[in-house]
């Protein structure tokens, strides 16, 4: 298994919001990808957006552009 890295992990209220996140990030070439929500954040399931922490501002701007409200932003080993 690959070594874990510290990542910015954005969680959402719904899968629809996660898909909206992926769509805007692909469109605007914002780095990251969808991953299962890490156990360190929530014991439930669902999708989260994982990206290098240095891209936080870019990611927040992308969400703001489409009116997307995240559940939470975390930094954790992924």
């Amino acid at each position: 298994m690959r070594e874990k890295k510290m990542m910015l992990v954005v969680t959402f209220h719904t899968t629809a919001d996660a898909m909206a996140m992926e769509k805007v990030c692909k469109r605007d070439q914002v780095p990251g990808r969808l991953i299962p929500v890490p156990r360190a954040i929530s014991a439930g399931c669902g999708l989260a957006w994982s990206a290098p922490p240095e891209n936080e501002e870019q990611i927040c701007q992308a969400m703001a552009r489409v009116g997307l409200e995240p559940e939470e932003l975390h930094r954790c080993l992924v």
Binding site: T15, A16, D17, M19, K23, P36, G44, C45, L47
Partner: protein
């Protein structure tokens, strides 16, 4: 076969619909149930279908497009999840049983009162009746956009203004119009728009849904797996998850998305123009044939592409069967799940033969149907007529 039963379901779909379903059923996983490629592919497809539906119907937010298996389920969710004992609802005689039966059940089981705006012998309503039926406890107008029997349309923009003026919700059954008539729910003032995917939207059966204006709260009637918040004892509050427990019809929604892309490319206004021109051509061809009674208001400025008729006093089932067996023309006889509409038209005993047109029908098919109706009218004429 000449297929003129498009108000029941469109038989001919854009070829990309079947291709999308075939591709999905051999490649897609379960949407919202993981982050591997197959699941994400399904999640992307479902989300794309939300975006396209929102664009087609003027829903302000894709996450307020809720998918169900048909319009009946959508209407049950809306009608069952919006009201409380003591509330009053105004509906109309134009409704399909998918509206009527949920309303009757609310009356019977929840102490909700319902009044129906009557239709006249042409299937038209007097809009003044909405004012006359208004009570202090009235909460909503629940009505169809177009009668599935006559093709008569209700003026949703007018009803939207009426609803706003009196603080009511407007719940619209757009089963006959979604994809076939240009619709912008925001501009019309519709709060909840229910649709099916397999008629005018030209998608697969087993698809449908409701578009909800942000701020309108509908209680879920089913709860269960959602792919998120799994340790919560209650269904997540947020739309669309609140109303979508269980696995989506992802394969069907892939087909619906393909159909919706086609509709957006072709233009719904163009589709509506062609369909109503076909219905008008058929209507003009049959209206003066001796023995033919055509129902509905065909002088109205806008209509769904439906023409229902009877020959003499003959059973509509007998005529529809003759059309199918002798001419290869598919129509729908009987009651069309619209009991109040038939009562208003005086056709409870006879039913009616419904001809309904799609974008893929042709003038030649309409003309062939006219010839068949003329011949059958001659053959079934009573002696001395």
């Amino acid at each position: 076969m000449i297929y003129l039963d498009n108000a029941a379901t469109t038989l001919r779909k854009p070829p990309q619909v079947a291709a999308a379903v075939a591709e999905a059923i051999t490649s897609m996983g379960n949407a919202s149930r993981g982050a591997h490629d197959a699941s994400l592919s399904a999640s992307r497809t479902v989300y794309e279908a939300r975006c396209l539906t929102a664009e087609l119907l003027g829903c302000p937010r894709p996450d307020h497009v809720i998918f169900t298996c048909n319009a009946t389920e959508a209407l049950n969710i809306a009608i069952g999840g919006l009201f409380a004992p003591g509330d009053h609802i105004i509906s109309t005689d134009l409704e399909h049983n998918s509206v009527l039966r949920p309303l009757y059940r609310l009356e019977r089981e929840q102490g909700v009162a319902v009044d129906f705006v009557p239709a006249d012998r042409r299937g038209c309503v007097d809009y003044g009746d909405f004012d006359r039926l208004l009570r202090p406890e009235t909460r909503a107008v629940v009505c169809t956009h177009a009668s599935n029997l006559t093709g008569n349309m209700l003026d949703l923009a007018r009803l939207g203004r009426f609803a706003r003026e009196h603080g009511l919700l407007l719940v619209a059954d757009c089963s006959q119009t979604a994809g076939a008539v240009p619709i912008d729910m925001g501009a019309l003032g519709v709060d909840v728009l229910c649709f099916t995917g397999h008629k005018g939207l030209m998608g697969p059966q087993g698809t449908g849904g409701l578009c909800i204006r942000p701020g309108v709260e509908i209680r879920p009637w089913k709860v269960g797996g959602s792919g998120v918040q799994s340790y919560s004892c209650t269904q997540p509050e947020e739309y669309p998850t609140r109303l979508e427990a269980g696995t989506h019809n992802g394969h069907g929604l892939a087909g619906l998305a393909a159909a919706e892309r086609f509709l957006l490319e072709e233009g719904v206004d163009r589709i509506h123009e062609k369909e109503t021109a076909l219905a008008r051509r058929f209507y003009e061809g049959v209206r003066a044939i001796p023995g033919v009674t055509v129902y509905g208001d065909h002088g109205a400025p806008d209509r769904a592409a439906i023409v229902s008729l009877n020959l003499w006093d003959r059973d509509s089932g007998e005529i529809s069967d003759a059309l199918a067996e002798e001419y290869g023309i598919a129509t729908r006889p009987g009651a069309h799940c619209a009991p109040r509409m038939h009562q208003a038209l005086g056709t409870v005993e006879q039913g009616a033969v419904r001809f309904s047109f799609s974008y893929y029908n042709t003038d030649a098919e309409a003309d062939e149907a006219i010839r068949a109706v003329r011949t059958l009218a001659e053959e079934t004429a009573p002696q001395g007529a």
